[in-house]
């Protein structure tokens, strides 16, 4: 909180002996009011739009489902709530498979984003002046068109009659014997399509934090390593890579967490027979009208994602310990 002058909280000595001495409220208004108000706004926001809804979801996950309005109820007697929904998470294979599909797709997409994004981020960070701004603009530019439009564009490209699919087909056929030539590449409605579109959509979220981190690295350190006998690849391994760890973790989390709960992409291009967990929640909620089950899956998903966030926080702490 740079720039905020630390001020003593608690009673401020008041000039009581003077006529017109200020009351506690006046004092606060004059001295700390703006600081306190500015700090309070995000807290109130988080409380209203995150903490309260989150507790509603938790409460709902412990309710019984009924066909009524609203579609859940609680027992009239102690303990009022039920853990049946959580038990069902483990007994019904649909849910476990949903989690596994989600985690697998998200992990693969994150790994691909990192592999693609790291060289790009490094390239942008090492680019000079105008070039750097140009390249950054190119990364951000896709955001200016609607996300849905871009997913639909991919649907069109992956369809078996698209130029993209036909081009890919004839490219693959070059390597296949004439007898086993294929007519098209079956891309749509598969986890491959989900991963492809997730990587495409989330790549900027990998590149931008990586860029922010890599840009700050002191190039003199690379020169020092080179001076001490390291070849460029060794310099990368010994200096750039370890020092960019915070950026890697931030980028991976920014891709992995939303990718795990992704709903739109798997709904549009995914395999309905092997749905991701976002789709399962959606189906429970709107098709089944089983709000408690949908809430349970959501709470469990959150728990699943909190673990990597906590790991990240621990790493951040360690990193700030080592590098100032």
């Amino acid at each position: 909180m740079a720039g905020v002058v630390p001020q003593k909280s608690g009673p401020v000595p008041q000039e009581l002996e003077l006529p017109g001495g200020k009351s506690g409220f006046r004092n606060w208004l004059d001295r700390n009011a703006w600081r306190d108000i500015i700090i309070a706004v995000p807290y109130v926001w988080l409380l209203l739009f995150f903490v309260v809804p989150f507790f509603i979801i938790i409460a709902m996950s412990l309710a019984y489902s009924v066909i009524a309005q609203p579609p859940f109820r609680y027992d009239q007697t102690w303990p009022f709530v039920t853990f049946d929904n959580f038990a069902r998470l483990f007994s019904d294979y649909v849910y476990l498979r949903g989690y596994l599909t989600s985690l697998r797709n998200a992990l693969l997409a994150t790994a691909l984003c990192l592999l693609l994004g790291y060289p790009m981020a490094l390239g942008i960070a090492r680019a000079k002046g105008v070039w750097r701004n140009m390249l950054l603009l190119l990364i951000i530019l896709p955001f200016w068109t609607s996300f849905l439009l871009r997913v639909y564009a991919w649907i069109g490209m992956m369809g078996s009659n698209s130029w993209f699919n036909r081009g890919l087909t004839s490219f693959i056929n070059v390597f296949l014997p004439a007898a086993s030539e294929i007519h098209s590449v079956p891309m749509m409605n598969s986890n491959f399509a989900v991963i492809l579109v997730v990587v495409y959509s989330y790549l900027p979220f990998m590149i931008l934090p990586l860029f922010a981190n890599l840009e700050k690295l002191d190039y003199t350190l690379n020169e020092a390593a080179m001076d001490l006998g390291s070849r460029p690849m060794q310099v990368f391994r010994d200096v750039t890579l370890p020092l960019s760890m915070p950026g890697i973790v931030a980028g991976c989390l920014l891709v992995f967490i939303p990718a795990t709960g992704e709903l739109v992409i798997p709904s549009l291009v995914g395999n309905a027979a092997d749905p991701m967990i976002g789709r399962v929640i959606n189906d429970e909620f709107s098709l089944n009208r089983h709000w408690p089950m949908a809430s349970t899956i959501a709470v469990a998903l959150l728990m699943l994602l909190v673990v990597p966030i906590m790991l990240y926080n621990r790493m951040q702490e360690k990193a700030s310990e080592g590098v100032k």
């Binding site: 002191d218 020092a224 001490l228 006998g229 010994d238």
Partner: protein, 378 residues
């Protein structure tokens, strides 16, 4: 007061130079950072590249390290052409101005980093790191990270790291730049001692002329990409060859004048600023009618309230400024011609302010020996 421990190899024409910079030019798009520089540095020297910012000294150092390749010219180290050898294959190590310590490694790992690439056993490697840490007296800090050290300690880690590979040449970029005054003096002598102990050839880049004078065996004074003069600290201070060098190293009083008459070993110069004639020692190249500058160091002028006989480089003036530094004082004296002269005088007598040689507004007499003046041609 440079230590001349290399036996003045540069004066011996049979000794081959250890580092040879051969008409090196470095251009950055349209800017010429280094302009046709040739320089020989000998084994075991502590050589200083001295100049203001943007004079090309750092570029020259980076060319020696291999981070920049010269646009034209060649660089030889120990008889090998290094012009196109990458930095990781040069027998040269550098101590960076910012120290460039790896923040994610401990002191020990920093110092040992360069040894990863040497064919050493683990025991040898550990020994070498220990030896280096002992050399810079940092053994008890081996496990610390750079941010847990003070500025002076970081500087010593950087020095140990650069020395760990036992390079043929050690390059130091403003080695004392970030240290405070007391630490600076201490570190200066430490660097000189380490240089003597290891016998490695040191090339130091600095903008601080005092640092260059105390540290080095020889100094190259650089300006706008060229070397203006190369010589021992005494040579560049007492016998500068150009106005620029005279002005850049220390402070100096300069008067423009015309040679009026010459004898075998003296010349008389008419100086309007001095308000009369100055007699100086003459070398053969000075002749009657030439326009020259007479340059005198402030500490070579004596100041006195007692009237002096006019004639022998003596003049009367008024003290208009007085700076008291403790060990010495600086007087700015205004001559009748309204020229200002800086005079430095050691306060070798203990006394109160009123007991000093001169006070503000005092009439004083200045004089200097004919041998004290430097004759500079334009």
């Amino acid at each position: 007061m440079g230590i001349e421990n290399s036996g003045k190899a540069w004066e011996n024409s049979t000794t081959a130079p250890f580092i040879r910079i051969e008409s090196v030019t470095k251009k950055f798009s349209d800017f010429i950072a280094v302009n046709n520089v040739s320089l020989d540095i000998y084994k075991g020297e502590l050589f200083a590249l001295l100049g203001g910012s943007g004079c090309g000294k750092t570029t020259l150092l980076r060319i020696l390290a291999g981070f920049e390749s010269p646009t034209e010219g060649r660089v030889w180290i120990d008889g090998q052409d290094m012009t196109s050898v990458p930095p990781y294959e040069r027998p040269v190590n550098m101590m960076f101005q910012s120290y460039a310590l790896f923040p994610h490694m401990t002191v020990e790992q920093n110092v040992g980093y360069g040894l990863k690439h040497e064919k050493l056993t683990d025991v040898q490697r550990k020994d070498r790191v220990k030896q280096m840490l002992d050399l810079v007296q940092l053994s008890q800090f081996a496990g610390r990270k750079p941010h847990q050290l003070s500025g002076g300690q970081r500087q010593r880690v950087a020095l140990a790291r650069a020395l760990s590979k036992q390079p043929k040449v050690l390059l130091l970029d403003e080695p004392l730049g970030a240290l405070d005054k007391k630490l600076r003096e201490h570190t200066q002598f430490e660097i000189m001692n380490i240089q003597e102990k290891t016998g490695i050839t040191f090339v130091v880049v600095t903008h601080d002329q005092e640092e260059a004078m105390t540290l080095s065996t020889r100094i190259a004074v650089m300006d706008k990409g060229v070397i203006r003069q190369t010589g021992t600290p005494t040579e560049v201070y007492e016998f500068p060859k150009t106005k620029f060098v005279a002005d850049f190293i220390g402070s100096i009083n300069q008067f423009a004048g015309t040679v009026k008459s010459v004898t075998k070993d003296k010349a008389t110069i008419a100086c309007a600023d001095w308000g009369g004639e100055i007699t100086v020692n003459r070398d053969a190249s000075v002749d009657v009618g030439q326009n020259v500058s007479v340059a005198v160091r402030p500490e070579k002028i004596s100041i006195s309230k007692k009237p002096l006989a006019k004639g022998l480089n003596a003049v009367e003036g008024k003290v208009i400024d007085l700076g008291y530094f403790g060990k010495d004082s600086l007087y700015r004296v205004k001559l009748p011609s309204s020229a200002l002269i800086r005079v430095n005088r050691v306060n070798d007598q203990r006394g109160h302010e009123t007991e000093r040689v001169a006070q503000w507004e005092d009439q004083v007499w200045l004089s200097f020996e004919p041998s004290a003046a430097i004759l500079l041609k334009d």
